[in-house]
Symmetry: C2
Subunit: 334 residues, 2 copies
């Protein structure tokens, strides 16, 4: 047995990212990888640029480290794409410490092209910033042109790059709490190692289990991706049939952001849970506003996680359509 770090190193080798063992530190999920990274690189009042909408817990981790998030705005009608050099560079100040991206994106499903990845890597390098890439969804890219993307393939940004990773999405093992932080920057490695040593170890049994997970073959990923692609296609096509819903087809991860024809998605969600049912069933999603740093944005948007089987997803989308119709009549009086 190669040990968990050895198994992760082998996995990275197979996707074209050559790592040394010391480039990998095991963490209690991707969450701890993020918290420790921010604790190591942020000082009070320093900033990290993050395209919004983004995973809301980033805010907690950045704030815990005394820093703040500078949101890079995107637009639903542009499919939430953010790889625009001018827009990114306009946010860089003397307080900027890092650019952070999630690729493929949560909650947007945006996947960067090779050219976009290269351009963002160039910005980080030219401005001497850390580039933190949350790549936990990298196996979930639904167009084969993307392959299994990782910023770790660019060897000229070794000093800038921090990859955040986890077993939970890759192997559907979300209670396992095993992730890692990957960097080739020796100074950051030393700081992260000190933080890791201070909290002793990651849960032992989970580490042994995670090592075994990395022994699955290519067929597991192929089947898993095919299943999620089917779910995405179903959800997107059913969302498009609901009048007034705005949705772009996500290219990766297992989420889709959609704009609903309601006044407030949070209020609508509460109403679905408390007032609505169809033959005893209702439906739940994540309201969009918490995914935004900018106040007032995402009010009528929702994130739908297509992590149920197709039969349940079809019923959920049917319930969403019925719920919207009923809510617009009964609550919005339209």
């Amino acid at each position: 047995m190669p040990g968990l770090i050895g198994a992760i190193r082998d996995y990275y080798g197979k996707i074209g990212v050559e790592l040394e063992k010391e480039d990998i530190l095991i963490t209690t999920g991707g969450s701890e990888a993020l918290l420790l990274t921010f604790l190591c690189i942020m000082d009070p009042y320093t900033e990290v640029i993050v395209p919004e909408p983004y995973y809301p817990n980033y805010t907690t981790f950045v704030h815990a480290a005394g820093g703040r998030i500078r949101a890079l705005p995107t637009r639903p009608e542009e499919g939430y794409r953010y790889a625009d050099r001018k827009r990114i560079e306009s946010l860089i100040t003397k307080n900027t410490r890092a650019i952070m991206i999630t690729n493929p994106g949560n909650p947007t499903g945006v996947v960067l092209s090779q050219e976009e990845m290269r351009m963002i890597a160039d910005i980080a390098k030219e401005h001497d910033l850390f580039l933190i890439c949350d790549e936990v969804y990298r196996e979930f890219c639904y167009d084969d042109k993307f392959g299994v993307p990782s910023m770790g393939k660019f060897r000229d940004i070794d000093e800038n790059l921090v990859i955040v990773d986890s077993v939970s999405k890759r192997f559907s093992a979300c209670g396992a709490r095993v992730g890692c932080v990957v960097t080739r920057n020796k100074e950051l490695q030393a700081a992260l190692l000190k933080m890791c040593q201070s909290r002793l170890s990651v849960a032992t049994i989970d580490q042994i289990g995670a090592e075994a997970l990395y022994s699955v073959d290519h067929e597991f990923f192929r089947k898993s991706k095919a299943e999620y692609r089917k779910r995405r296609d179903l959800v997107v096509s059913m969302l498009r049939q609901i009048p007034g819903v705005q949705v772009e087809e996500p290219m990766g991860a297992f989420y889709v952001m959609a704009g609903l024809p309601v006044d407030d998605a949070d209020k609508f969600q509460r109403w679905l849970l408390e007032e609505f049912d169809h033959e005893g069933d209702t439906v739940m999603f994540a309201p969009g506003a918490p995914f935004y740093e900018t106040p007032g944005k995402g009010i009528n948007e929702v994130r739908i996680a297509y992590v149920l089987d197709c039969k349940d997803l079809a019923r959920a989308m049917e319930l969403l359509g019925r719920g919207i119709e009923c809510y617009r009549q009964q609550v919005m009086r339209l």
Copy 2:
């Protein structure tokens, strides 16, 4: 099954500490309980008063939260006792946010008397400070007069008290990474809960295992304590037979601090590992200086963890005696 939080609540009830379920938050070991607590209560340049010597990782957690440690000095010849109202109050400034103690103590084995606990609780209350008590060793008190001590029994310091706890010492389960943070302060509960939610959960399998650990009966603790008492007695009596060693009998935990007749315990440890052997064996302890915040203190002290069986401990103490004699002749030229 009462669930892990229910099991912990039942355990606390048995030792005389009445808790509500919401007073308990499960953490990835006592380490995460400490880190999250400091992240919630410290701001840049705030201070926490800690008797030294103390567990060195406290420093990393406090620094990660932007704060600093104000060391409360103790003296080996006083058995490292620190419960002195004047000495503690002399360290309180407008920047002081908390007093932190480990009871029973690591590395000193100091156990506070009921009167000392009450006095420290009073100081925290009078000065409106958090009182953070790391009580992971509370079952390991070798004089029956101490019982199973916990600051949680004082109900007038609900707003001040934070208890840090863990299964690792109590059940000899040190790779399990399940602990908890206990507080009845509602505002702090809300902040800690937010931090806990941001990093999702503690490893699921370990939580299930920990729940089962809490079902052990009183006999387990009785046997465990009797074994450690035997080990302590053996180590202390053998240390006292080594010429020049200064040691006081520790009252709790499973460590003893000792002053050795060497110039530098760290240098001596390296020499033991690299240059010394007796019939192929050598011995290893933790050098004392890293347990101190004050530079220059603890240079000739060591922490010995009596976590081996008596036969191995006896051999280790024999090796330590031989090592000291040999080192003083060969290296110190005495």
